[in-house]
Amino acid sequence: MTAPLTSLDRPNSYIGRSVPRPNAKRLLAGRGRYVSDLRLPRMLYAAFLRSPHAHAKIVAIKTGDACAREGVHLVATGADLAKICTPWTGTLDHFKGMTSAPQWPLPVDRVVWAGQAVVAVVAESRAIAEDALELIEVDYEDLPVVVDLGVAREAGGALVNSGSVDNTCFRSQLDNGTVDDAFAHAAHVVEEEFTFGRHTAVTLEPRAIVADYDPSAGTLTVHHGTQTPYQFQDLYSRHYNIPEARVRVIATDIGGSFGMKLHVYHEDMAVVGLSILLGRPVKYVADRMESFVSDIHARDHRVRARMALDGKGEILAMDVEDLTAIGAFSTYPRTSVVEGNQVIRLMGAPYRFKNYRATLEVIFQNKVQTSQYRAVGHPIACAVTERLVDMAAAKLGLDPFAIRAQNVIPDDAYPQTSPTGYRFEALSHQACLKRLHEIMDYDGLRAEQAGLRKRGIHRGIGIATFVEITNPSPAFYGVGGARISSQDGAILSLTPSGEVRCLISVTEQGQGTEAIISQIVADQLGLAQEHVKVITGDTEVTPHGGATWACRGAGIGGETALQATRALKRNILEIAALILQERPSALDIVDGQVVDAATQNERMPISEIARIAYFRSDTLPPGTQAQLTVSHHFAPQGYPFAFTNGIQGCSLEVDVETGLIKLLKHFIVEDCGRVINPMLVDEQLRGGIVQGLGAALFEECRYSDTGQLVNGSLADYLVPMPMEMPDIVIAHVETPTADTELGAKGVGEAGTAAASACVLNAVNDALAPLGATINSIPITPMKVLTALKRF
């Protein structure tokens, strides 16, 4: 499906054009303003003593020697900070029955994972603070450690929270249609158990925060490397009892986030308290080892799933059980159950069957928390569904493309509801499948594969369809009681020189938010893009909004900018009409000039309107008050989410003697609705795919029996690197959402959603002639060689 032409499709439109990011040059020139680089006058540095135990009682903390060290200003324990900070609990009301223990900046009586911050030292340098840490003695009393997910569920076993009945955080169930009946009458049933390892974000810039409490004014300013400054303004205000208007959170440039930097971290909350206690700016930057043991992890699922089909290959039903372990607490304020919730709700999403049952069990254990990270839940749902579809195709003797073409919801059948209850406005699976088949040269790849197999070379081809959740409404967090906004706000001003300044609540994490906002404003006002300045990420300056996460920046932030710009344009044309003695509707703005709408003849530059309005208001008719600043908010309405869809394909080679996998080429056809900047969309897809490929082959947080992270360094935790990454071929189908004028949906997570599923299918395709199967991600050499019984 291709979008109908509208005013957004003018030949000279900025919408749909690959214009460069205005901030890219600044960042490349080393002029980024990262919190890591920030130095304020009188600033002190925090460091944290961390627990060596995964679960232990804190018996005593001796800080005397550390306090006495020259250059040390403060040594603070959990008890010290608990006096000024109220605890938080990572639950939401719409997840009925979920529990989580209260959390403080630093633990008051018990440590619950190895690496948890226990004592803070604030000193004149980080080095002095680290020296002082070595002088602190903590007496611990070991408690039973809960590490393995299976063991955590055993009745009568060790408990993460003594006093609780078991280690369950949350259970959920879905049951639609007649699942038992469908399986009883199915011609074919395929079934598999899957495991998905824990992994983590590994941002280039680690978490960084500078908290600056000014006791003389009672104001708190926090420079915070985060995606969500407004959320943190609210939280710092509430937990430290400072009026909201006196809390300012500034999130300027940020070296990667991927969902990892929108959660409350104990160290960050502590740093705010340390600054309040000292009345001085306090800085903390996590080092890489600290990031591995304190940044949220993600995934860690065990899924048992089966799929029923009729004799012709029509999918009849799915039955799914997802177990996931989330660490010792549910994160705050978004919880740690959203991933599992999305896993069970995204299963089977591309297909039109109606019988679906799922159970979700979320379990506590003594590890660092898991929570939302790029493509929350999607890779698990996609891998499970798509592997079962491939297993079914093999059983029925169908080609992977054929079985999908047979079962996807037809492009002309929308609106539709997914087997799990999600409502889809319009998706394009059929168009995407067809396009992928072409760009992969699928028949050619299959012929090549067959030829190489005869020579003992084992190539695999895999495809995976997916559906992505974007543009979330309050149904996501707001209904659960979280003070997380799903709306955005913008303030647009025409400057005295006729340029535009746009303050907007969506934030920039390097993906090009500011670029697309400036494109939309320039396009809608009729101005050159270089005359639009976009400002983001400062709660004192930009209006309150949701900011950037869950693929909402373009769809919701972009629509906010569009509507705000149209309001400003109306106001400008009103003044122009007065000056030119025309009706406003007879005028338009093109390239900074007010023109006759009909003839496009130039009448006057908007800089002249600005000059008159700001400096010669006396020449305007009496009673005229020019409004050249507008503020506008936009909250998504209509569908609760704007779903997107697409399909990925890959070709790879398995060395069956070593278990090593070489990725040869990756393909994606993606439908994110209206594409605002094709270059940025493509790079979002590439980056997302690379993160998915990392999950597929490399990334896993591995723990010992005692709950120690054993590979918490970049030498041992393998992130995807350029040498191992394939070329990625991209194509688009555009199905704009009708819920907004702009029609844009999100795209940031689409690549990650299906890349690992694609690889899983391709590896199984390669191993199929050898009678080996893989059902676990990441696909390590050990798993491949074990499946092949090579040692």
């Binding site: 890591s36 680290e130 070593t658 393998l718 191992e724 050990m782 060689l785 040692f791």
Partner: protein
């Protein structure tokens, strides 16, 4: 940048830049055992930052001319301890007379590390996962050591003792490594299996064989990432000496590895898997050695 910056994580230490070998040795002696020599710093600096090591004194040896340079000395190539990993790729004498080192060099970490890391430093650290220490075994190299009690040369076979433990005594440093010149009747091969380019290998192997016609007159095969030290596989070598390189001989050599290697327990690469990979790699390298005729 000054010490107030947040990035400084190492404990405070003193720094001395030695202009001569005697100055370096003298400084070490005066500091007792609480000193470390530093050259490229590619292993030492991370260890300092992690506070795994916290010496009072760092002695910078990178300005000592005597430790530099690559030159022929009789039947050997003298490779100065300060020769950087990247020079293993660029130095013509190494390509000609120690081609096994030239072949192994691209597998050593990444370009930024190769630009600073030194050959002597790598051998002195004796990381069992490093390429160069293992290759000194295959090359039958001699390691020249200077210390408080004078100079000596130690055969690579006698240099590696246990995990990060070598024949180096406190206060001693490596000045050069002597490698017998590569000859026309010799062949070499190197490769490793790693999940990502530049990573510590799952298994790596290098070999140098002297041929008498089509038969192997002598062969030295050395592994990395298979145990506590770089490891020569004498059992496998013995199955090949005096033999032609055919499929049967290669299989015999692969079979002998079980007696040569005792890989450690590891959650990602169990001993049986590492032994399997060592066999696969041996088969591939011996195959290449056969083709190189």
């Amino acid at each position: 940048m000054d010490l107030e910056e947040t990035a400084v994580k190492a404990r405070a230490f003193s720094y001395f830049r030695a202009a001569t070998l005697d100055q370096a040795l003298d400084a070490h002696a005066r500091a007792g055992d609480d000193a470390r020599f530093i050259a490229g710093g590619q292993s030492l600096v991370p260890a300092l930052s992690l506070r795994l090591q916290a010496p009072r004194l760092l002695i910078d040896i990178t300005h000592i001319d005597e430790l530099r340079g690559v030159r022929r000395e009789g039947g050997h190539l003298r490779i100065g301890a300060l020769t950087r990993h990247c020079e293993m790729l660029s130095e013509p004498l190494i390509a000609e007379f120690a081609p096994l080192l030239h072949a192994a060099a691209p597998f050593v970490a990444h370009p930024a590390i190769r630009n600073r890391g030194t050959f002597g430093g790598s051998v002195a650290l004796a990381d069992p996962a490093s390429e160069f220490p293992a290759m000194t075994l295959a090359l039958d190299a001699e390691i020249e050591i200077a210390g408080p009690s004078g100079r000596r040369r130690v055969k690579a076979d006698n240099f590696f003792i246990d995990l990060f433990e070598t024949a180096l005594q406190p206060g001693e440093l490596i000045t050069a490594i002597y490698v017998p010149l590569f000859r026309a009747d010799q062949r070499f091969a190197f490769d490793e299996l790693a999940r990502r380019r530049g990573d510590y290998a799952l298994v790596g192997c290098g070999m140098l064989a002297t041929f008498a016609g089509e038969r192997i007159h002598d062969i030295r095969i050395s592994y990395l990432s298979v145990g506590n030290t770089p490891t020569r596989v004498r059992g496998a070598e013995a199955t090949l000496i005096g033999q032609r390189l055919d499929a049967e001989r290669i299989a015999a050599a692969q079979g002998a590895l079980e007696g040569d290697l005792a890989p450690p327990e590891s959650d990602e690469v169990p001993p049986a898997m590492r032994l399997h990979l060592a066999r696969v790699l041996l088969g591939r390298l011996l195959g290449r050695l056969g083709e190189a005729a």
